[in-house]
């Protein structure tokens, strides 16, 4: 039988936590990427470490979107789901993860569970799912695993991997090899047992699910350059190493921590050190100390950690200490949604400190950029003698995608520690009047002695309360941003350079926005998009670009008021964060649509919003 060709498919594996669904999905994603598909995977993570079994809130798993072109986001509703129990599907359904016709491959062990209560729950759920339009196949997955191993709770995931590899016509040998790689270092027994489960699953799908046999053609746009497959946090870690940094000083916080976990493993080989500080305040202070002493340093955190760091960020701005700060944004305020995505920290990154604290802010739009922006940030921090904040988010942090392997070179690395003699005629802040830039002495340099201070200071770093000095030094620090902006080019326009509507995005919504825009363009809409990587300073040319469109709208994952909601007027409407910045900077009447559902925006959702706004616009202009 020939497999059916599909341009793309969205697969989910959902289970209780601890059943290995994520490992199964990651491996499946890697195999698919190796076979030349575009892939994006994202983990479904419950908030608790060990949530109660068989509950909707305990849903733990993974979504894999694979296709025959580059995949840049999680996509819309799923096509095929493997579920280890029926209860976990409820929360996915509530999240709108499935549609009519989504195929559910459900382990039927609960039908004959010893508890009659569980039996009934199971029957009820299956009936409800079918009413909902899902195509449910009840399969003896557990039973089939029992034939291979004594305890299928461990290993069922590899059985499912086998099933998926058959369904999507993956190279079987590659699957078996991938298992050997996944369990590398474990006992041979463990590897062969998992490979047996894999074989059994493969055969099971061939026998029981013959009708589900698909072929996803390889990407044609695939480049020949070597690729790596990682999530965004690992990419951040690789960026830290590629940039030649020596220190990461951190305090654990979800969803940022895994970047430091990764570095703790590999960083020492590059001479680096991960310092787990007593809190986020100490973490950044430690990094500032190291940077002051001439060693490039970075601190990686998430929203609540950023809040604690603000006073030190201001110190780094005031005293012009190069520093890279990575903020893997999560849902806020307060403890908020620790494991979920939000783009809620743009304004606090811009304005969170006391007084005027100009700094560079970058936002990674892809997993590759999680790596390259750290390298860029390190360079900018040093050249502009300032902290640089790199914003990523939970979506990038846990999303896995193949990306072009960076070609490492020496000029990515931090320069070696300079201990040459300082020219004592040059003050510690020898601000160039035009650019605000200056060179800094490093402890150990003879004749460079100065006292770095967060107090208002002169060129010589002497404490000064003089009004003119304060005005001057504030001007010099601010000028650096204008200088940086003068070196940037306007953003690329995705689509035509003029039209009805321009969508502006930043961060991890990149792929979903472009996909939505592409879909609308194929229906004839005059819509384009730009995606900003520099948020402070903003990329140049925005006013001119905006003027070519009837309407400009941002799409963001943060809170904004809906203009049609009760009590909301044009005077009290609270705008999404980038929209607010753009309105101020360009004086254009930038509209926004944003939401804080805690999950990544789906292209379809964005498409619907934009379609509605386009309809309104066309009605208004009488077209």
């Amino acid at each position: 039988m020939q497999p059916q060709t599909k341009q793309e498919h969205i697969v989910e594996i959902v289970s209780d936590s601890g059943e290995g669904a994520q490992k199964c999905g990651q491996t499946f994603g890697t195999i698919s990427a190796k076979m030349g598909n575009g892939v994006w995977t994202v983990e479904i993570i419950p908030a608790e470490i060990q949530p109660p079994a068989r509950t909707p809130s305990g849903a733990s798993g993974i979504r894999i979107r694979l296709g025959s072109k580059e995949i840049t986001n999680v996509g819309n509703e799923g096509d095929l789901v493997v579920a280890f129990n029926e209860q976990v599907l409820y929360s996915r359904i509530a999240n709108g993860a499935y549609k009519e016709g989504t195929v559910v491959l459900l382990d039927n062990r609960w039908e004959s569970d010893r508890s009659t209560e569980i039996q009934q729950m199971y029957k009820k759920a299956v009936a409800e799912f079918r009413d909902h339009g899902l195509v449910v196949h009840e399969l003896p997955i557990h039973e089939a695993c029992l034939k291979v191993v004594k305890d299928p709770r461990k290993g069922k995931n590899m059985f499912v991997l086998g099933m998926l590899c058959r369904i999507y016509n993956r190279d079987k040998e590659m699957g078996r090899n991938e298992i050997a790689l996944t369990f590398a270092g474990k006992a041979e027994k463990i590897i062969t047992s998992n490979q047996k489960l894999f074989d059994a699953g493969y055969q099971f799908a061939a026998e029981q699910l013959g009708e589900y046999f698909f072929e996803i053609p390889t990407r044609e746009d695939r480049s020949d350059s070597p690729m790596v497959v990682t999530n965004g946090n690992t990419a951040v870690g690789l960026g830290v190493m590629a940039s030649g940094m020596e220190l990461v000083s951190m305090y654990p916080i979800t969803p940022a921590t895994s970047a430091s976990h990764y570095l703790a493993d590999v960083f020492p080989a590059a001479g680096g050190f991960v310092h787990q500080a007593e809190d986020e305040i100490a973490a950044i202070a430690f990094a500032i100390g190291a940077s002051y002493a001439g060693k490039t340093a970075c601190t990686i955190t998430s929203g609540p950690g950023m809040a604690l760091k603000t006073e030190n960020i201001a110190l780094a701005v005031m005293a012009e200490v190069p520093l890279v700060i990575v903020n893997v944004q999560r849902g806020g305020p307060s403890t908020g949604l620790p494991t979920k995505i939000e783009q809620g920290d743009l304004l606090s990154a811009l304005y969170g400190e006391p007084g005027d604290a100009p700094k560079i802010i970058l936002a990674a739009a892809t997993i590759a950029e999680c790596c390259s922006m750290v390298v860029l940030a390190r360079k900018l921090a040093e050249s502009f003698r300032t902290p640089v904040i790199v914003l990523t988010d939970a979506n990038l942090a846990t999303g896995v995608q193949p990306w072009e392997r960076p070609e490492l070179s020496r000029d990515m690395l931090a320069p070696p520690l300079d201990q040459s003699e300082w020219n004592s005629d040059i003050p510690a802040y020898d601000w160039d009047e035009k650019t605000g830039l200056s060179q800094r002495p490093i402890p150990g340099m003879p004749n460079g002695e100065y006292v770095l201070t967060g107090l208002s200071h002169t060129k010589q770093s002497k404490v000064s309360y003089e009004s003119a000095e304060n005005q001057y030094s504030a001007t010099m620090r601010s000028r650096k941003l204008a200088t940086l902006q003068s070196t940037l080019t306007p953003p690329n326009i995705h689509g035509d350079e003029s039209g009805d509507m321009l969508v502006v995005g930043w961060g991890s919504t990149f792929g979903a926005i472009e996909e939505a825009v592409d879909n609308l363009r194929t229906t004839g809409e005059k819509i384009s998009s730009i995606h900003l990587r520099f948020l402070s300073p903003l990329e140049p040319g925005l006013t001119e670009i905006f003027s070519q469109f009837k309407k400009v709208i941002t799409i963001e994952v943060n809170y904004s008021d809906d203009i049609n909601a009760p009590m909301i007027t044009t005077e009290n409407r609270r705008y999404a964060q980038l929209a607010m910045v753009l309105r101020v900077q360009t004086l254009a009447d930038v509209d926004c649509w944003s939401a804080v559902y805690g999950h990544p925006l789906q292209p379809e959702m964005i498409g619907n919003v934009l379609q509605e706004r386009l309809n309104q616009l066309n009605k208004k202009t009488g077209e």
């Binding site: 190493m241 590059a270 680096g272 050190f273 202070a285 100390g289 340093a297 392997r405 006292v451 967060g454």
Partner: protein, 320 residues
């Protein structure tokens, strides 16, 4: 110290440093402030050690005492309130070659920076920590500090401080990895000098609580101690702070205390709270405690080639 070797030959030193080489801006503390004495002592210790000024870094938080780096001609990092210790640890972390000092106040260290204090003791990075304890918030004008005596009238407690003073030495001694804990008063220059010299020579984090005069806000606290030396108890031992005979005579109360005896150190420290007897000298020293700076400083010599190779090896793992 004058470059003359034991065999009377002249040691050819390219650079010889005088006190001038360590003196920074003119100190702006009030006259009679104990901080002046500490500053002068630090200048002399560096001069005696002939450390190149560019190799020392004075790190501080915020407070009167935290102005100290500005009065040194070395490198300095005048940070933010409470964070002197993590800033200093960061400086030392990848620069084991630098000579790191910390100047912090009783508010800066024992209150807002208390968390960092505990952890800095545990890290035991090689640095000299001077806690200027005037038992008051000086810079912000007379608010109660954690070490203010109970009933002290301050601007935040006009009816008198309501809580007993904290005993910082019992805290420091109680933290795992405490390796050098000493106490001294600012108005006894030879003792101050010997104490800071011993602290500076110690490898590890040396915590010296300096009971410091603030004649402007709490003149009476230290005046009583100056006038009645029997409130102080001098700790003597061959492994302790060297005390000249003339200095020893100034202390009516002195006991021999072996600085390797932790139980004894805790007992002596506790007497300050329980009996009002203030120890001066070396409470505890242990030279065998590991320094976190030895760990964090590993790999500082890694070459560019090695860094690139390590990063490539890391990338290989994810290659498809």
């Amino acid at each position: 110290m004058f470059g003359i070797k034991a065999d009377w030959s002249l040691d050819i030193q390219e650079r010889y440093f005088t006190l001038d080489d360590y003196e920074g801006n003119e100190a702006r503390w009030c006259s009679g402030c104990g901080d002046h004495a500490v500053l002068a002592t630090a200048h002399r210790i560096l001069r005696d050690a002939q450390l190149p000024p560019e190799k020392s870094v004075f790190v501080s938080g915020i407070g009167c005492s935290s102005r100290m780096p500005h009065y040194m001609a070395t490198y300095g990092l005048h940070g933010i309130h409470g964070r002197a210790l993590p800033l200093a640890c960061g400086v030392k972390s990848r620069r084991p070659d630098l000579d790191v000092w910390v100047a912090t106040g009783d508010g800066d260290c024992y209150s807002i920076g208390a968390g960092h204090w505990i952890h800095a003791v545990r890290y035991n990075m090689d640095m000299t920590v001077l806690i200027f304890d005037n038992q008051i918030y000086g810079l912000t004008k007379k608010q109660t500090s954690p070490t203010s005596p109970i009933e002290l009238k301050t601007n935040t407690h006009p009816e008198g401080a309501s809580l007993d003073a904290m005993n910082p030495n019992t805290v420091t001694l109680g933290i795992t990895n405490a390796s050098f804990v000493a106490q001294v008063v600012d108005w006894n220059p030879p003792l101050l000098h010997e104490t800071l010299k011993a602290a500076h020579a110690h490898k590890g984090a040396s915590f010296v609580r300096i009971i410091q005069r603030c004649p402007v806000f709490v003149d009476s606290i230290t005046k009583e101690l100056q006038e009645d030396a029997s409130r102080l108890r001098l700790l003597t031992h061959e492994n302790g702070i060297p005390v000249a005979k003339g200095v020893e005579k100034l202390f009516p109360d002195s006991v021999e205390h072996d600085p390797s005896d932790m139980a004894g150190a805790l007992r002596i420290a506790r007497d300050e709270t329980e009996k009002g007897i203030i120890p001066v000298g070396l409470l505890y020293q242990n030279q065998n405690i590991p320094c976190y700076s030895d760990l964090s400083g590993q790999g500082v010599e890694t070459t560019d080639e090695e860094k690139i190779a390590a990063t490539n090896a890391a990338l290989d793992v994810f290659a498809i």
